[in-house]
């Protein structure tokens, strides 16, 4: 009849438990930890709101025993005394990994956060709420007073934490019997004060990588300044660019360079401008024309500058025509419509779409593809990459774009950061592989009851963010 055998088990267990509780021996006497294990201290790495209190776990204490922690602001417990109850099976220090790490010792300590200002809160004044139809000024007054009061309250709490020592006593009870923790015949009292700390120890795994990575990146930038010939693998897409140029010359048609809608400050646009410069140097040699489609005056100005310089460097300043670099339209869809229209009318031999793109990418690439042009795309907007990959002949994906730009421009800041990021990637790859290996081995060893496994599993906490 019983559908779930598990339920039957649970029921039997409850019955057995009740039988023991009713007919068995009276509840076990509470035991106390050694007096010197009872400690209170400021909780580290916090904003000064909490005191930590700890004492050793007593193996003999069963579930029905409760520790009672008494808190007072006077040493003789003469004033107001607050009681905090902690079951003998709960509240282990090892649960507080954030503040106390994952040391094995913590598994044998009870722990409680005590927030003095919440236990003994300062008085809060009430501000009278205005009527529903009160004037704007009255309501503003109310809002101002409320906020002022909130600030005062917050300040009072902080002041209380800062200026008040808290005193603690410990006892254990099973409901009928209570024993008090004593040291040399008198009840042991410990005290501590909550302090606002100046360093977040649990963010070490954040700070150390941050500092090391900063040094690596800045170091490589310096290095690249001295020697800009840092090795970067050639990005295959750049060859496709050369091929496209060749075709354009052959067919005697122009090349379109579409910037996308991003402002000049964005990384993708900077990369696009670098690539444009390189492209123009070759175009000047081949004697075909590049037409640049801009959406903002800033990118237009910068593009003009770059193209002009490229033609001059190639020895053909006469071939430069500023009208080739047009401000097409400033808004997403008018830009798309205008660029698409020009693609259909002028039928360029090659279209470069390099920069930061949003939803317009699909329409641009699809229209471009319908004219039969060779299309080369590059963007760091990963959501748009699928459309470029399907519609273009070649796509520079995300960071490849930055790498291509660094490769071509040899700018130290780009080269140096690229190299620094590569170092970061090695570290991440190693962390992923070694971490997985350690955790897998650790799990297996623990299953075999080998203690070293636990150590391996604890290594995982190195990358645990708090």
């Amino acid at each position: 009849m019983v559908k779930n055998p598990f339920r039957l088990w649970a029921f039997a267990l409850v019955l057995a438990y009740a039988a023991i509780a009713l007919c068995g021996e009276p509840p076990a006497k509470p035991l106390l930890p050694p007096a010197d294990s009872f400690k209170a201290y400021d909780r580290p790495s916090d904003d000064g709101t909490a005191i930590g209190v700890e004492w050793a776990v007593v193996p003999g204490n069963s579930k029905n025993i409760t520790y009672v922690l008494e808190v007072s602001t006077t040493e003789d417990f003469s004033g107001e005394v607050k009681e905090i109850r902690i079951p003998a099976t709960g509240g282990l220090k090892s649960k507080q990994k954030k503040f106390y790490g994952s040391s094995k010792k913590n598994e044998s300590l009870h722990y409680k956060d005590v927030l003095p200002a919440d236990l003994f809160p300062p008085e809060k004044r009430q501000v009278e709420q205005p009527e529903e139809n009160a004037s704007a000024r009255e309501k503003a007054w109310y809002s101002y007073e409320r906020k002022k009061e909130n600030r005062r309250f917050k300040g009072e709490k902080r002041k209380f934490n800062r200026d008040t020592d808290c005193y603690f006593r410990l006892s254990a009870t099973n409901g009928t019997d209570t024993v008090f923790l004593e040291d040399g015949g008198v009840r042991k009292v410990v005290s501590a004060r909550a302090r606002a700390n100046l360093f977040t120890w649990y963010r070490c795994n954040n700070l150390i990588p941050a500092l090391i990575f900063s040094c690596v990146v800045m170091g490589f930038i310096r290095l690249a300044r001295r020697n800009p010939n840092i090795f970067i693998r050639r990005i295959a897409g750049l060859d496709a660019g050369d091929e496209a140029l060749g075709r354009a010359t052959e067919m005697g048609r122009s090349i379109f360079f579409v910037h996308g809608l991003a402002e000049i400050g964005s990384l993708a646009t900077i990369a696009a401008v670098n690539i444009l410069g390189q492209l123009c140097k070759q175009v000047a040699l081949y004697d075909s024309r590049v037409k640049v489609m801009n959406s903002t005056p800033m990118t237009m100005a910068v593009s003009q500058e770059v193209v002009k310089q490229a033609y001059t460097e190639a020895g053909r300043p006469d071939a430069y025509d500023p009208d080739d670099i047009a401000l097409v339209a400033p808004d997403q869809f008018t830009y798309v419509a205008a660029v698409g229209g020009r693609m259909v009318r002028e039928r360029p031999a090659a279209i470069f779409m390099i920069g930061s793109f949003a939803a317009e990418s699909l329409i641009l690439a699809e229209t471009g593809a319908s004219t039969g042009a060779i299309q080369i795309a590059g963007t760091d907007a990963y959501t748009q990459v699928p459309f470029f990959i399907t519609t273009c002949d070649y796509t520079l994906i995300g960071e490849e774009l930055y790498a291509a730009s660094a490769y071509l421009s040899r700018e130290p800041r780009l080269l140096g950061s690229l190299r620094g990021q590569d170092v970061g990637k090695i570290v991440l790859m190693a962390a992923l592989l070694l971490g997985t290996a350690a955790v897998t081995l650790g799990t297996w060893l623990v299953a075999q009851n080998i203690e070293f496994g636990e150590f391996l599993l604890r290594l995982r906490d190195i990358v645990k963010p708090f």
Binding site: A140, Y142, S143, N150, A236, G372, Y394
Partner: protein
């Protein structure tokens, strides 16, 4: 990405392609309209990622505060408005207090309408200021979140209607973001992984559920696996799932048939294209 062969296409073929394109374009709205005209209904079973958010909200006590960050504009209304309405209905039904804000001012008028209309369904029980709050918009992105982390009424002195937020009943137990019980971010771009996770939940420790356009959904899976968000409502299908869970099928559920037909249409196009490609390759080989 390795090279694809660059091929030259003749003008005649381009014209042919243009015509095919027109036909494809013309057929699409017809395919979409058929289920509407024939009143075909096609509800589905909710996905586990959507269920997680639903059960998270169900588990909240009455009176809990749920922060809605509606970061979308009318451009994604078709996907995100049904989600918003379904989640708001769930909140009102369970007596949770939604607090609605946005990072996208261009959607503000829409958000106001959605909130007011949904509250009206539960009239006269639900009142602005007591059961829900429309905080409105503040520019600043991450700054808004950090400021709310200090004090919500400090970041939003006044709500959308110009009422002072300090002392509002719905915000009684909520001082800062730390007191928020759940945050549902319905976003059409960037605000989940760019703002709410790094500056909001990771810092102030409240659970986040993500509702997003289907474009963004694939990017959020890493955050779901790392438990930085509790679930994902992705696109119109996610919205339909949520409507089914809440028990109030609406726009999204009734759109599922049209969605299915359109997907089949596109899959069909892909298959035809590949058959064509295959045949062309074979005939080339024979030549």
């Amino acid at each position: 990405m390795p090279e694809t062969a660059i091929t030259t296409v003749s003008d005649a073929e381009l014209r042919w392609q243009l015509m095919i394109r027109r036909i494809i374009h013309l057929l699409l709205p017809i395919v979409v309209m058929v289920p509407f005209l024939c009143e075909i209904d096609m509800p589905g079973k909710p996905s586990p990622l959507v269920k997680q958010i639903y059960y998270d909200l169900e588990a909240l006590e009455p009176g809990s505060v749920v922060l809605f960050s509606l970061d979308f504009d009318p451009g994604s209304q078709a996907e995100l408005a049904p989600m918003t309405v379904a989640a708001l209905r769930q909140c009102f039904k369970n007596d949770l207090h939604p607090i609605v804000m946005t990072h996208w001012f261009s959607g503000l008028g829409l958000h106001k309408r959605l909130l007011e209309e949904t509250a009206e369904e539960f009239a006269p029980d639900k009142k602005s200021g007591r059961d829900y709050v429309l905080l409105g918009f503040r520019p600043g992105g991450q700054s808004v979140i950090l400021s709310m982390g200090d004090s919500i009424t400090g970041a939003f002195d006044k709500d959308y209607y110009g009422k002072i937020t300090e002392g509002m009943d719905a915000l009684k137990d909520v001082d800062s973001l730390r007191d928020i019980d759940y945050a549902l971010v319905l976003s059409a771009g960037g605000t989940i992984d760019g703002m709410w996770i790094p500056y909001g939940s990771d810092r102030y420790g409240f659970p986040i559920g993500a509702g997003c356009t289907a474009v963004m959904a694939p990017d959020l899976y890493p955050f779901e696996q790392s438990k930085q968000i509790t679930g994902i409502i992705g696109g119109l299908r996610g919205a339909a799932d949520y409507e089914v869970l809440v028990g109030a099928p609406d726009d999204a559920t009734s759109a599922m048939a049209a969605q299915s037909f359109a997907h089949l249409y596109i899959i069909g196009l892909v298959i035809v294209a590949n058959i064509e490609e295959f045949v062309r390759k074979r005939s080339k080989k024979r030549e």
